[in-house]
Each structure stands twice: as structure tokens, then as C-alpha cells.
């Protein structure tokens, strides 16, 4: 301890607390400076307080805010003359049209909203947006409407959103607001929402198809295919015969973009106008196809006509018996590209050598256990490449590092590595019981399986935590093997320890080990409407590197200290 360094501060403390020991006071200042990173001048008040007799320093009572607002939570609470209403709703649709209002052409929005957006039974009402709030009324968003009014016409009530109304988005929706225009937009823009669009695009593929009616009343002839421009490509489904061929450049006017699972598709119906378009500068079919090659990172459930280059990691044949007693074979394996890993399933007899490179075409994407997987049906869809399309990838250590914020907002991914801080170690971590019925591994609650009722159950180990970046968060599930490895004890040892000394010490040890720490996790991310979950294949608690973090912050923002 440097003698006399804190003399000035010690003197000040002694003025307030005359019976304090100066050496102790100086020691305390040293502690504040070195351990708590608080300079002596700033620590003064705290140190004084510490050496004073412990007494209560009562704060004011703090309670929940008591702000009263004119609000309802359900449409049924509204009368036909209600004005200045506040309600939270789910936006089910937003359409718009141009309308003459007092001699002026204005864009009017209309569609359906549903009350009770967070839970319970919902009621659907129509609404009209007179206030040009399209940006904030995206389909699937949950918004708070303030200052809206009720309109009743022919005994039917609806909501008017006025120019003075306020719309606050509580939960983001998807897509972009529809704009009623025949001005063409890019494929990228058209792919974002569900709305009526006009596009100029090159026909990349076109083939007749049939849709079988579910009720068995026959089939409908349709045309499927794909169109693209320099911003991307999109599948289309036409309910009427088309006179276009591959390579044609067309203007598609007044088509509906709809989403199947996570994939947008252009629907061509009776009102859609298709005409040839002339633009010499428009990219050719080959150019667009070159551009529209996918990467594993960008695969989404429901995609069709996927073209992608991959390296085979492993390949196995599995035979099984169908319901009709027929014996069939399916081939599948792990594949990778520089952006990640996924599974590839082939229904055709194709034998692939691990390590070889392939190009697949017209593949579809199907989600299995939340991760998008590639599926091919015919043998001609898979082509073995002579030359590697990308550099070598070490498959044993191929983890693509991704920001937690990106993982929580995109599609499900395999083979990712991410990091964040643990903000919760959940109490259902530790030894759990799993259902023993075949094919079921559900976690039992009070000895009950959600599917099979009361069953015996077998013990297993898993950790449930929450990983958080400050902007986004995800559930973190660590199953038995990675949990054993991060704790450094076997399942048997942990079970034994809990049996002898109880759950509490184990839980506080888990908290001690993880809570508040930064961790790096390798595994897969699964996104669904309940949020993001990361399944760890391995997990490490990161070293503490405050100086490195501070330096990167200084660099990122150009801070001058």
C-alpha cells in the first residue's frame, strides 16, 4: 500500500466519522480504487457511509406506476359512439387503395385486426386507416392503437384509425406495407411481405403441375416455376394457363404474394396480367441463376428450386418398410458449405463419397426438428463436381460464428457458434426424468409424460439457461454430454452427489459457474413462434477479457479517451 496516497480523503472521512481508524479507512480507499474501480474522490461518500454507525437510510416507498388511461382490451367493451379509444390488437392484414377524398387522391388502408393479441380468444374486426400508418401496421404485428374511434354501419362495428391516432408497435410484424401501384418493384421487395405486387422478371423455369384436391373431388391444373431479377428469384404458382417459356422477360401485374411456411410465392390468378417486356439491359437467365445459388445459411423451410453447391461429410443408406409393406431405401447424410451445415436426403439411389463436392438443383427444403434440411427426389438433381467450388473445410471443427442477434431473427441453423452472457440458470436444470416409451424422450413433470401419462421415467442430465446479448436472448439447452463436459463430472458422479448432499448445493454451484458469465456455445439454433432456442453441442465459459472488450468498443465507436 502506498503510504499517504489517500491522506486527503482519509482526513475528510475522519471529519465525518471521528472514531474511525485511519489505517482502515485508507485500506478501504485502496480497495475501492483497485477492486471496485472507483477513484478515491468518488468513493468518499461510500467510505464515509461504511464507517458510520449502520443506520437506516430509508428511501421513499416505491410501488407500481398508477397511470390511468382510457383503455379497453376487447372489442366487445366498445360502443358504437366510442372515441379516443386505446386498445392493443394483432394486425391480420393490411391492404390499401387510392380513394378520392374531398377532391384529393389519398391512400386508404383497410383490413382486419384482432383484439386480445397476447392470449385467449380473439375477435376480428375490420378497420380503416385514414392516417397513412401503413409502416406501423404490418401484418402479424401487435400494435397499440391510441385515439382511434368506433364506426358503426349497417349494424356492424369497425375501427377507424385517424390522422391524429397513435400507433405504437409492440411486436414487429413481417413484410413491407403494400402500396397500391402498378409500378414494378424488385423481387427482393416483393418477397418481403404478403401483398399485391407488380414485377418485371425473367422466367427461370416453368412446368405444368397438378394440385390434388384434399376432398378427393379431382385435381386442378396449375403452372409452377420461378422468376428472377438482379435482386433475387421467387417461385410462382399460376392458376391459369401461361404462354411463357424459360428465358422470357415478362411484366407480371397485379399478382398476389403469399407465404407458404417461411417461403414467399407469387400467385398468378384471373386478375393478373402478364405481358412481354423489353429491356436489353436486363440480366440473362444464366446471370440470374448464377446469382441465385443458395448457401446453407439462407435455407428456409418450404423453399423450392434450390440450387446449391455442397461438400458431403457422411452418407448412409437406410431401408424401411412403408405402410403398404413395401420395402424402400432412403439415403441421407450431413453436408456443408462455408456458411454452415445441414442434412441432405435423397429419395433416388445416389451413392456419394464423403469429402466429395456436389451441386444439387431443384431441391426442396423441409424442416426437421426445426432445422431446414435439403431433399432431392430424382437422380439427375445431384451432380458430382470435379473441382471444389470452395476451399477446404475441417468438418470436425466447422462452426460458423454468428451474432446472437442474427440467430434469433433469422431461420433455424445448424453448425453455429455464438456467445452471450448467461442471465438465468433455470431451476429445471440438473437431473430430470424422461419418458421411457419408445420414441418418446419427453421430460416428465411430476412423474407424468405429456403424451403417455404416468410412466416410470429414466434419469438424464440437462441444463436450461438463458443467453443474452443485451439486444436479444435465447433459451440455451445443454444436454447430457456437453453438460458433463462443461461441469467436468460424469452423469453418475453428479447423480450421486445430488443424492447425498441434495439439489441446493448443486444449483448454487451451477449459478456460481454460469450466471453473469460470458459463454461461447457451439450447436444449432431453432427458431419458431415461441422464440429462439440454442441446443449446445459444446459450451465453454469464456475467459474474462475486460481490456480487450473495452478496446474493441473504443475502436468501434472511435472513442477518444
Amino acid at each position: 500500500m502506498s503510504d499517504g496516497k489517500y491522506d486527503t480523503e482519509v482526513k475528510l472521512v475522519l471529519q465525518e466519522v471521528s472514531n474511525a481508524d485511519p489505517a482502515e479507512v485508507a485500506k478501504e480507499f485502496e480497495r475501492y480504487e483497485n477492486e471496485f474501480l472507483i477513484p478515491p474522490r468518488d468513493a468518499l461518500r461510500s467510505v464515509v457511509r461504511k464507517f458510520m454507525e449502520p443506520g437506516s437510510d430509508a428511501d421513499k416507498t416505491v410501488s407500481q406506476p398508477a397511470i390511468v388511461a382510457k383503455k379497453v382490451s376487447r372489442f366487445s367493451e366498445l360502443g358504437s359512439n366510442d372515441r379516443n379509444v386505446s386498445i392493443e390488437v394483432l394486425v391480420s392484414s393490411y391492404n390499401s387503395r387510392l380513394q378520392q377524398v374531398r377532391g384529393e387522391e389519398r391512400q386508404i388502408g383497410f383490413g382486419f385486426i384482432e383484439d386480445s393479441p397476447w392470449e385467449g380468444e380473439r375477435t376480428k374486426w375490420e378497420y380503416k386507416d385514414w392516417g397513412n400508418k401503413a409502416q406501423d401496421l404490418l401484418p402479424n404485428s401487435i400494435v397499440r392503437l391510441e385515439g382511434v374511434s368506433v364506426n358503426e354501419w349497417n349494424g356492424k362495428k369497425s375501427i377507424n384509425i385517424n390522422q391524429t391516432s397513435r400507433v405504437s408497435v409492440l411486436k414487429e410484424g413481417s413484410g413491407t406495407p403494400s402500396v397500391p401501384t402498378s409500378e414494378p418493384i424488385t423481387i427482393e421487395q416483393a418477397s418481403k411481405g404478403e401483398s399485391t405486387v407488380t414485377v418485371v422478371a425473367r422466367v427461370l423455369s416453368v412446368k405444368p403441375d397438378q394440385i390434388i384436391r384434399r376432398d378427393g373431388s379431382g385435381s386442378i391444373d396449375v403452372v409452377r416455376g420461378r422468376v428472377g431479377d438482379q435482386t433475387g428469384s421467387i417461385g410462382f404458382l399460376s392458376w391459369k394457363a401461361l404462354e411463357v417459356k424459360e428465358g422470357d422477360l415478362v411484366k407480371i401485374e397485379n399478382a398476389q404474394v403469399k407465404r407458404f411456411r417461411e417461403t414467399p410465392e407469387i400467385n398468378i390468378g384471373d386478375y393478373t396480367k402478364i405481358e412481354p417486356y423489353h429491356d436489353r439491359a436486363f440480366p440473362t437467365k444464366d446471370d440470374i441463376q448464377q446469382e441465385s445459388k443458395s448457401t446453407i445459411m439462407n435455407l428456409r423451410d418450404g423453399m423450392r428450386d434450390v440450387e446449391i453447391e455442397l461438400q458431403v461429410v457422411d452418407w448412409t443408406v437406410r431401408s424401411f418398410t412403408t405402410k403398404d409393406g413395401e420395402s424402400r431405401e432412403v439415403r441421407s447424410g450431413e453436408v456443408q458449405d462455408p456458411s454452415g451445415r445441414c442434412r441432405l436426403t435423397s429419395w433416388a439411389k445416389v451413392d456419394l463419397i464423403p469429402g466429395s463436392f456436389i451441386k444439387i438443383q431443384n431441391a426442396r427444403v423441409q424442416a426437421w426438428q426445426g432445422s431446414p434440411d435439403l431433399v432431392t427426389d430424382g437422380p439427375d438433381q445431384i451432380e458430382v463436381l470435379e473441382k471444389a467450388p470452395f476451399g477446404p473445410i475441417d468438418s470436425s471443427n466447422h462452426w460458423v460464428t454468428e451474432d446472437l442477434d442474427v440467430l434469433t431473427s433469422g431461420g433455424s441453423r445448424r453448425g453455429i457458434s455464438t456467445s452471450g452472457r448467461i442471465v438465468s440458470v433455470r431451476s429445471d436444470s440438473g437431473i430430470i426424468l424422461r419418458c421411457t416409451k419408445e420414441g418418446c424422450r419427453r421430460v416428465l413433470r411430476d412423474g407424468m409424460c405429456g403424451e403417455h401419462g404416468e410412466v416410470e421415467g429414466s434419469e438424464d442430465l440437462r441444463l436450461m439457461m438463458v443467453i443474452d446479448s443485451g439486444v436479444s436472448n435465447a433459451s440455451l439447452l445443454v444436454s447430457r454430454e456437453p453438460a458433463e463436459s462443461v461441469i467436468g463430472e460424469s452423469f453418475q458422479e453428479i447423480t450421486e452427489r445430488i443424492r447425498t448432499s441434495g439439489r441446493e448445493p448443486f444449483m448454487s454451484e451451477l449459478k456460481e459457474r454460469f450466471l453473469g458469465h460470458r459463454v461461447t456455445v457451439n450447436g444449432r439454433s431453432i427458431n419458431d413462434d415461441r422464440g429462439c432456442m440454442i441446443q449446445a453441442e459444446s459450451l465453454v465459459v469464456s475467459e474474462t477479457i475486460p481490456v480487450e472488450i473495452a478496446e474493441s468498443v473504443i475502436e468501434r465507436w472511435g472513442v477518444v479517451l
Partner: protein
């Protein structure tokens, strides 16, 4: 059993925020539904439901009430004080809280990290007091604390940057998105811009600089950074600070500044020492000068009194 559902629906992320920014916040935002999350919107547009905070324990209190036992801890970071409550409705945390309280009483001081839910209290005259309800807490070492300082500096810089962009952007969701404000800050920034008067983000830059210096292991005090007094923008909101700048716009004396800060900020309990010092530093006075001025106002002039340790009010109104 809904609480043990492995996936929490729409869990709110733990915002990294310094004590100063949160304490300045006066805009609670509560949805109308029973289970809607409540938020506190800060001047920099953070919409806080849950926060990750850290600091050295500086006071501890145990209370008994009709609803049961509760605890209050004050944690200080480089920018001010976090107020944390462990409520009677959170008994799982009570054994830990009990131990922390006992250690504090024995004179032990240590750094804590807390995952807290925002809570606030609005007085009749519109004053807003903010604090946190602890959900998770633990003692941490100074290395992790230093990481938190750096991370929180990063988050604060991101908000300062967004605020600067918001000042010149069209005041709408689309306008903010177009100006490059991150998606998670758009809504909070709109609410903030509609509620708070304009201010110089410099006040929060000071926090960032102090935190980064501390994280780098440099213990420096940053005072008297701007020789020119910055007009207006008191730390305490709601009541218009009529007195901070005198009629002709010129800066007033340090004594007057302290007195008007207390006048504007006192909602019954007085104004705390740190808030006064901070206000003085915003107006370009060094900590030393401010401390001396407070001392002389208290001792010599008798114009302010320290009725409770660290809390000041005016003796003449």
C-alpha cells in the same frame, strides 16, 4: 406449471444500462393487458423491461411489511446508484439476500451483478422514481465487473449514436429506420423523442468515458471537461428548470446552480449528493469546486441542509 415451460414466450432481453441513464428516465410505458410487460423508456431511447446491472454494494436494508420481508440494496457504478429491491414475492432470492445483508452489516463491501425488472413510482406532482426488482443476483469479481462496464459503455454508445441520428431524422418509424437506427431502439426512441426535451448526449458520454477508463484499469476522474457552461438539460426532469439559466441567458454562479438544482429536484426527500455533483459537472464545474460550494452553502451560509446523510434540501424556500 406454465412457469416451467422450457421456452419463455417473448422474453425481454436484459438491457445493459448505467445507473445514471436509468435514473434520469421518467417515462413509464405500460401495456393495457394484465400480462403485458411494463417498460421504462430512457432519454437515450432504451426501452427497459429487464436490465443487467452491476456495482459495489453501498447500502443494504431489510424491511418487514404486511406482505412479508423485503430487501433493498444500493449498488454504485461509475455513474451513480442502482436501487435494487428483493421483493416479498420472490422468496427464492431471500436466502441470498439475507446473506448479502449480513455481510454488508459486518462491514463487507463487494461487487454484485443483478438481473432486474424495472419498477417505478410516480408521485402526485409527476416525479418518477426508478428502481429494479431483482430476479437473479450474485457477487462478481472485478474482472467480470470491468467486462460489464465495457459492454454497457458499448450499449450506451449505440444509443447515443441512435439518439444523434434521431435528432435529424424524420420523426416516424420509417424515418428512424431510414436513418439507420437499430430496430430494437426505434420504438423507444420515438417514445423518448415525444416525451423528453432535447438534450446534449454529452452527459452520457461522460459515463462512457469513465466506464471505459475503469475497464482499462485506469482510475481517472473526469471533471471540468467543458469550460463553457452547457445551458439547461438538468438531470432531474419533469419540473421545468426555470432557474438554471438566468433571464439574459448567461450562466449563473455555482451556488445558485446548486440551489436551483435542489429546488427543481426536491420531491420531499431532498436531492442526493451525487445528483448535485453531476449537475454541476454538466455545467462545467469541477467536482472539487462543487463539493466546496456545497460545504460552504451548508456550513457557512446555512442555505441548504443535509437532513439525512447524503441528501440535501433548501432551508429557505
Amino acid at each position: 406449471m406454465t412457469f416451467s415451460n422450457p421456452i419463455r414466450v417473448g422474453r425481454q432481453s436484459a438491457i445493459r444500462v448505467f445507473a445514471h441513464e436509468y435514473r434520469d428516465a421518467t417515462l413509464p410505458e405500460q401495456g393495457s393487458g394484465e400480462y403485458d410487460p411494463g417498460f421504462m423508456v430512457t432519454r437515450l431511447g432504451a426501452k427497459i423491461n429487464r436490465a443487467l446491472i452491476a456495482g459495489t454494494i453501498d447500502s443494504s436494508e431489510r424491511r418487514e411489511s404486511e406482505s412479508g420481508q423485503s430487501f433493498r440494496f444500493n449498488l454504485i457504478d461509475v455513474t451513480g446508484t442502482h436501487r435494487v429491491e428483493v421483493s416479498p414475492f420472490n422468496p427464492e432470492l431471500h436466502p441470498e439476500a439475507e446473506e448479502i445483508h449480513a455481510r454488508f452489516e459486518r462491514g463487507d463491501r463487494f461487487i454484485m451483478m443483478v438481473v432486474g425488472k424495472q419498477r417505478s413510482f410516480t408521485t402526485e406532482d409527476g416525479g418518477v422514481f426508478t428502481s429494479y426488482n431483482a430476479q437473479e443476483m450474485r457477487e462478481i469479481n472485478s474482472q467480470i465487473y470491468a467486462e460489464w462496464l465495457a459492454e454497457t459503455a458499448d450499449a450506451t454508445l449505440r444509443r447515443i449514436d441512435a439518439y444523434e441520428k434521431a435528432l435529424t431524422a424524420e420523426q416516424s418509424m420509417a424515418g428512424f429506420r431510414g436513418a439507420g437506427i437499430p430496430e430494437d431502439l426505434v420504438d423507444g426512441m420515438l417514445l423518448s423523442r415525444a416525451h423528453y426535451p432535447d438534450f446534449e448526449s454529452e452527459v452520457y458520454m461522460l459515463d462512457v468515458l469513465q466506464a471505459l477508463n475503469a475497464a482499462l484499469g485506469r482510475s481517472v476522474e473526469i471533471v471540468n471537461r467543458s469550460p463553457e457552461p452547457v445551458p439547461s438539460n438538468p438531470v432531474v426532469e419533469e419540473k421545468p428548470p426555470q432557474n438554471i439559466v438566468s433571464e439574459n441567458g448567461s450562466a449563473m454562479s455555482l451556488d445558485d446552480l446548486i440551489i436551483s438544482t435542489i429546488a427543481a429536484g426536491d420531491r420531499g426527500e431532498g436531492v442526493d449528493y451525487d445528483a448535485i455533483i453531476r449537475e454541476c459537472s454538466v455545467h462545467g464545474h469541477s467536482r472539487q469546486d462543487a463539493e466546496d460550494a456545497i460545504d460552504s452553502l451548508r456550513a457557512v451560509g446555512g442555505r441548504i441542509s443535509e437532513h439525512k446523510f447524503g441528501w440535501f434540501r433548501l432551508t429557505e424556500v
